[in-house]
Symmetry: C2
Subunit: 413 residues, 2 copies
């Protein structure tokens, strides 16, 4: 089936999904869990093909780890279904309602967005997560995964489509684009007659390509160049724990810290303390000229400050004060998460007010930026832009709203 | 000054505007009102040049009426300022807040969007309305008006900039693009390093151009191909009043009805009744083959059903039932406002649930779709798309949010 026909199918399915009850959607997701569990061997076999292809191409092990599935990772997909089933359905929620003087009742009601296009790289669990979140919020989804995971994705989508059909959900609620070329992405981005939203999830190059070429509204997710600024007045021992947590607990996540900014007044004491803990855990440090005076490390380039390492690498810069820290963040940050560690009330206020990122912290690890931690349950990603969804992007952000007005033949005066 | 420099100025101003208090913003808007009132002669003289240029070009009178200013229209600008001053400031509002088990306080707080680009046609009052709404919500704005109104816009922006400077607001909070070519629009749409949002307001061709070419998130406003469906069970006398109100009260607005759908069962009775009232008021009717049997009118073309007439023209179509009415709306509507007139409970429920437009009515005129009517105060337009803002697009929709997190050195477990 060609791309346009798939787009049309997904759009048509979305019109039916609008009217499906929460119960029907939950039943369908439960059926997806059951079918995935029942056919896990099929998924594992397909995934083994992807993994062996990737090895042949000389893909590095950290990427193969993202691609590879196992019994326990498939169990995690099943578990994700169970978690989405228990989340409250945002569709139909009345956000606000008012009774006008003339008797008109105006209500703002949550509705599905429609047909969503998702463009993502490698990890096959995203295929399941995105699909079940779309279904739960009454949307259909057109998935375009990376070429690395094509066999896994085909197997997973086939199984999910069978589950939806058993549950009586409209055909076309989930579709996979099987052509994985860049050209097909471009075509997809022009299908605004069918798709209401595009969600890219992947590296900076993919996201830039989508933003530059899309005629469909885009919500950028996942680029996290996060900063921690250790102010002169911070508790240094606790600050070491926070930087350690933010860098090493899961370095491949978007909420991991990538650049550490240190107030000059404490640099001589703090840098060696944090560096000894981090290097003992295998973290490579890249510092500005001044930080290198306090610990032996590689010099940081301009690019290092822009980079999202997603790895055991940390850039370090000594700054004069909170203003210089904020200027650095304004210039280099991707707008994801930034934290100030301080005991100075004015500096904490200023940092909270001035820093223009999705999540701004005082005295906490950036690792908390997460749908689960925020009480949203599963998330489709972390949005780093300002329209519609910012920060953890969960079920509610997968909906729009409409106004319904109940009258008794009122006319406008 | 070239376009890029203006973009940079507006972006820089937005960084300062984030921190300005409600009081300072209100003072600045009050100063704009004062300066406009004081220099109304300057505005009227500039506008007279635009009007005479338009006449020379043979512009039709309805468009000249949109362009022309008068003492009372300038007074309306001043009044608009007063109305925006009394509106509550959305910036700083806490939408929700939660205290986590580990003591983290997570709050969702409204913040300005940043720098906004507004691309609009003719009416010079939009220049003031958009600017004061942007300022009130803490955003800066880069205005690109139509060539017809360039002299009026230059005069108005100069006066507003003087007012902002007197009030101590950052230079660059309001800027006007003086080159009015289509090429400059294209350049503006690529400035995503400076602008966070583009709002086009104008005809379908302008909006399509913006959507097709923008790298910046776009909120489409203003295209209103609105429908009223008169069901078999409607009160016909009251239905005549509603169609009359929706078509003739202000035919040039986006919430005016453009197509009337009539249930076959009542067509023979209703069409002559509504047609006699409308034609007496100078409305041109264009009907399907079946409606023409009930009243002498021009045949409607496929294009008529897609058109937003913005004029005393109404397309009419006879339909079999509510399903056919909804199919027509799904195909032809711009997603603005649709109304069903009915006494059938099931049909009212079905219409409310299935019709996918910003505002869906039972038994009321589509003319109520308006920021003022909805209690938002002024609006920047009516959004016909589903992300971020849908329907009346007021101050709140001119903001984003960020999460602020207050901790005591918590790390993620």
């Amino acid at each position: 089936m060609d791309l346009l026909s798939k787009g049309e199918r997904v759009r048509n399915a979305s019109r039916k999904l609008r009217l499906i009850t929460t119960e029907e959607k939950n039943d369908a997701i439960s059926m997806i869990a059951k079918e995935i569990e029942m056919h896990k061997d099929v998924i594992l076999r397909a995934n083994a093909v992807d993994v062996s292809n990737a090895r042949e191409k000389g893909t590095k092990e950290s990427l193969i780890d993202r691609l590879a599935l196992s019994e326990s990772r498939i169990q995690a997909m099943v578990q994700a279904c169970r978690e989405v089933i228990v989340l409250p359905d945002p569709v139909g929620e009345i956000e606000s309602t008012r009774l006008q003087k003339d008797g008109l009742r105006i209500s703002k009601e949550r509705v599905p967005i429609g047909a969503i296009g998702m463009i993502f790289e490698s990890r096959p669990n995203v295929t399941v997560d995105a699909s079940i979140l779309a279904i739960k919020s009454g949307n259909s989804i057109l998935l375009k995964g990376g070429s690395d995971a094509i066999n896994s994705n085909k197997a997973i989508v086939l199984i999910m489509k069978k589950a939806l059909s058993l549950a009586g959900l409209p055909d076309g609620s989930i579709e996979l684009v099987e052509d994985t070329s860049r050209e097909v992405v471009k075509e997809m981005l022009e299908m605004n007659q069918y798709l209401s939203l595009i969600i890219p999830r992947g590296g900076a190059a993919l996201i830039k390509f989508v933003v530059d070429n899309s005629r469909i509204p885009v919500i950028e997710t996942g680029t996290g160049n996060c900063h921690i600024f250790v102010d002169y007045s911070a508790d240094l021992e606790k600050s070491v724990s926070i930087v350690d947590n933010a860098k090493t607990q899961r370095p491949g996540t978007c909420n991991a810290v990538e650049t550490l900014l240190v107030h000059r007044m404490i640099a001589a004491e703090f840098i060696p303390r944090v560096a000894s803990v981090l290097t003992a855990k295998g973290v490579e440090l890249r510092g500005c000229a001044e930080s290198i005076k306090h610990w032996k490390m590689n010099p940081a380039t301009e690019e290092d400050y822009f980079d999202e390492f997603l790895d055991l690498i940390l850039a370090i810069k000594v700054v004069e004060n909170v203003e210089e820290a904020m200027q650095h963040i304004e210039k280099y940050s991707s707008g994801h998460s930034e934290s100030i560690l301080t005991n100075d009330y004015c500096n904490s206020r200023q940092f909270l007010r001035c820093v223009d990122s999705a999540v701004v912290y005082v005295n906490a690890s950036t690792r908390f930026t997460d749908g689960g931690e925020f009480g949203f349950g599963s998330e489709i990603g972390i949005s780093t832009q300002k329209l519609h969804a910012r920060g953890p992007f969960g079920l509610k952000e997968l909906t729009s709203y409409k106004y319904t007005i109940l009258g008794d033949y009122q006319v406008r005066k």
